[in-house]
């Protein structure tokens, strides 16, 4: 599991890669919250996430709620079928703003 961040178009793009589970989700949570502390909108690139469970979902929900409290935008991009299935089960596909690509998410932020 890796987490990488870069600045693009005034937003922070966090790229997650690997499997997000009870072992790795604490790192994801810390990374997302630290990224939000920069005070910029956050786009999470999910394209390389092969698996996510309820603990990973919890990390995303916490980051989403933190962003809202800070008045920042929070979006997901390129969610693969495995992660989308989990979002749909939890009905979070109706809560998260999900874009087909990072570029589309950044355009929306512009």
């Amino acid at each position: 599991m890796t987490c990488e961040a870069q600045e693009k178009n005034g937003a922070t793009v966090v790229s997650l890669s690997g499997e997000i589970d009870l072992q790795t989700s604490p790192d994801v949570r810390r990374f997302l919250l630290k990224s939000l502390s920069q005070g910029k909108s956050l786009v999470v690139d999910m394209s390389a996430v092969g698996y996510i469970d309820s603990s990973g979902i919890a990390s995303l929900v916490e980051a989403y709620q933190t962003a809202r409290k800070m008045g920042l935008r929070f979006a997901l991009a390129q969610v693969g079928p495995s992660a989308m299935r989990v979002f749909q089960l939890a009905r979070l596909d109706r809560v998260f703003t999900i874009f087909p690509s990072v570029d589309a998410a950044l355009q929306d932020h512009a």
């Binding site: 499997e19 589970d21 009870l22 072992q23 698996y51 469970d53 309820s54 603990s55 979902i57 919890a58 990390s59 929900v61 916490e62 709620q65 495995s82 299935r85 989990v86 089960l89 939890a90 009905r91 809560v95």
Partner: protein, 144 residues
Amino acid sequence: MTTDPLSSTEPLFALRVPARPDRLRLVRAAVGEAAMLCGVGSSWVGDLVLAVDEACQNVIRHAYCGRADGDMVIEMRREADRLEVRLVDFAPRVDPSLVKPRNLTDLRPGGLGTYFIRILMDDVEFCEPPEGAGNCLRMTKRIE
């Protein structure tokens, strides 16, 4: 004449591992590979893997309360048109009435695991654990 090993009631596998987060990936791999032996589709396998992963998380987080010195046993078998997974731990007895899925309209981090197990499996019940064990969760899912 040969016997089809996948139509018997023998376990597809039984795996005893430390009840720790760093063993979940191994459990998921075993469950996924065993399910694929039965010829089911990848989305079905994904749902089963998620449900078993969530059940193991409950053992780690709630039954053992985060202690790292307990074990859990995952046993999977095919029973005619369904797959059965038994998850046994050696923690103190859990009150099944306290294991409830949360309301999805309550948006908050956490609490989704039991909900996932309930909606992804056809039957979920705590059953009498083997002698010396603490809890036994039996989950079945119909093969489609």
